[in-house]
């Protein structure tokens, strides 16, 4: 037998639990071993759990699609287009003079989520917002001329009745905040890049 035990190292029979039954002088050493082994195990488990969790984060090909170019040249005044960005609709509206005036005229005190129109656009005719209602994520109506645009001329969410104005700000209904303005930049006078 290769693993013959010397009688002195034979365990006490009938003793079912290890742990603190080995006399006070050995307690510290065992505690130390337990602590070190436990710590190493915890670090090891953590090191292997993280790759699994991180694998559920957006993959490189998903991140690579994280910006979208939108040409503006063909959008006439008063028209709006919807483009996809990160799987979500982005509303790009070419606002009329009346709509801009209306958006700028609103006193901030009347707003649930006070923001001046100027803080929500880079160039006044162009309003760019995420087409996702800030209530529970439905897509509001108002992009087509035939859509209901709500009481404030912007967008109206049919799910739970939120009304947005011509600056995409929440005016009435359950939504807590304005339509989100995504990061975007004018790459030329007739094109923007969202994301």
């Amino acid at each position: 037998m290769a693993e013959t035990l010397a009688p002195s190292t034979a365990p006490e029979l009938g003793q079912t639990q290890g742990g603190g039954e080995h006399g006070p002088d050995q307690g510290t050493k065992r505690d130390f071993l337990k602590l070190v082994a436990g710590s190493f195990a915890a670090v090891g488990v953590g090191a292997i759990v993280w790759p699994f969790i991180h694998s559920m984060n957006p993959a490189k090909d998903v991140l690579a699609l994280a910006s979208t170019d939108v040409p503006l040249g063909h959008i006439a005044e008063g028209q709006a287009v919807t483009v996809m960005w990160r799987g979500k609709p982005v509303f790009v509206r070419h606002r009329t003079g009346a709509e801009i005036t209306e958006a700028k005229a609103v006193p901030l005190a009347e707003l649930r989520d006070p923001q001046p129109d100027g803080a929500r656009v880079q160039r006044e005719p162009w309003l760019v917002v995420l087409g996702v209602c800030t209530h529970l994520g439905c897509v509001p109506l108002g992009q087509k001329p035939t859509d209901a645009r709500g009481d404030f001329g912007g967008w109206f969410c049919p799910c739970h009745g939120s009304h947005y104005d011509t600056s995409g700000r929440i005016r009435r209904g359950p939504a807590p905040s304005n339509l989100v303005v995504p990061d975007y930049a004018f790459t030329s006078d007739t094109q923007i890049r969202v994301g």
């Binding site: 037998m1 290769a2 013959t4 035990l5 365990p11 790759p51 699994f52 991180h54 694998s55 984060n57």
Partner: protein, 423 residues
Amino acid sequence: MATGLHDSSFTNPVVRWIDQRMPVFTMMQKEYGTFPTPRNFNYFWNFGALAMINLMIMIATGIFLAMNYTAHTSMAFDSVERIMRDVNYGWLIRYVHMNGASMFFIVVLVHVWRGMFYGSYKKPRELLWILGVVIFLLMMATAFMGYVLPWGQMSFWGATVITNLFSAIPLVGNSIVTLLWGGFSVDNPTLNRFFSLHYLLPFVITGVVFLHVAALHITGSNNPLGIEPKGPQDTLPFHPYYTIKDSVGIVVYLIVFAFLVFFTPNYLGHPDNYIPANPLSTPAHIVPEWYFLPFYAVLRAVPNKLGGVLMMFGAIAVLFVLPWLDRSPVRSMRFRPIAKWAFLLWTVNFFVLMWAGGKPAEGLYVVISRLSTAYYFAYFLVILPLLGKIERPLPLPESISRAVLRGGGPLPGGAAAKPMEKA
């Protein structure tokens, strides 16, 4: 103590509250805490626990791979490459799963070998052994279907060849193959059902493993001496003695596993499987994964289609009846001077079959395959039954504790018949 509640011995109030209503803590304490386990295990007894760990690793990695895999002939290959390149740590998860399959077979083959060497299949553990063979079969089916999923050349042609085995069945063979394929060749319906079953079977394996362990905890473990424990002096509580011994084995196992994953992740695979499946062109030399090679060699050793298929399945099926082929009352090969050498030769022969299965089916390789196949079966069907009658085993030690604690090794003759010691 209120009526209807389990009489729990735990003092922690939360544990006790749960344990009184659902005595899982009592059960774990009984089966993995105080469970009396022969005190003389060697490291071969690690491999059951390792197989359990390996199964959990395969299920965990598999679930995360399935989140990114697409079971469609036009997208499967690309989705696997996307896992390798784009998914965060996808390469790691896939390589662990790929090499995990190989590690699983290494671990399980050692586990089976252990059972054969130390006679763990003998009464009263026949059912335990049979459940193990069922697990082995399910593993082979799962591994085969998993290998098809990346939809490379080896996937496709492996699937074609293996499913065509069933065409050897007289009369209904071709209908069965059409049924397996869901069409007239290995194609999208085949891939879809293989993915579904590949996801299902590991959970079936988990169920059978549970039965395997349940049966084990009735008979108790065998041990290197092959004699039953006669009292508490022959056993140790499972915890901490064997939880620690298993942990040592797990660390070594993980080192080997990590070496494969991080240094030679494709060593055990076949490069042709990185070529997308092409139904119009078979690779020049197609071989299964290494763990199927011995059985593949048996298949090709027989110059008859049906005969080859039957022999190949027979190579596994014979394991089911092993407890009744081996008539010797002595379990451990340590005390069987002739059977020991016959079995060690069988072991070498298994590797010869594995080697021959990876060679082309021509010339000397066929001759070697045939001789090896003959010995593979002769060991089970001729040698073991015969040795049960004619072999004179060495004297068994009186008890485990005597052999282990007092100088080791078998005691002189005549000791075997002594009555059990009282604790």
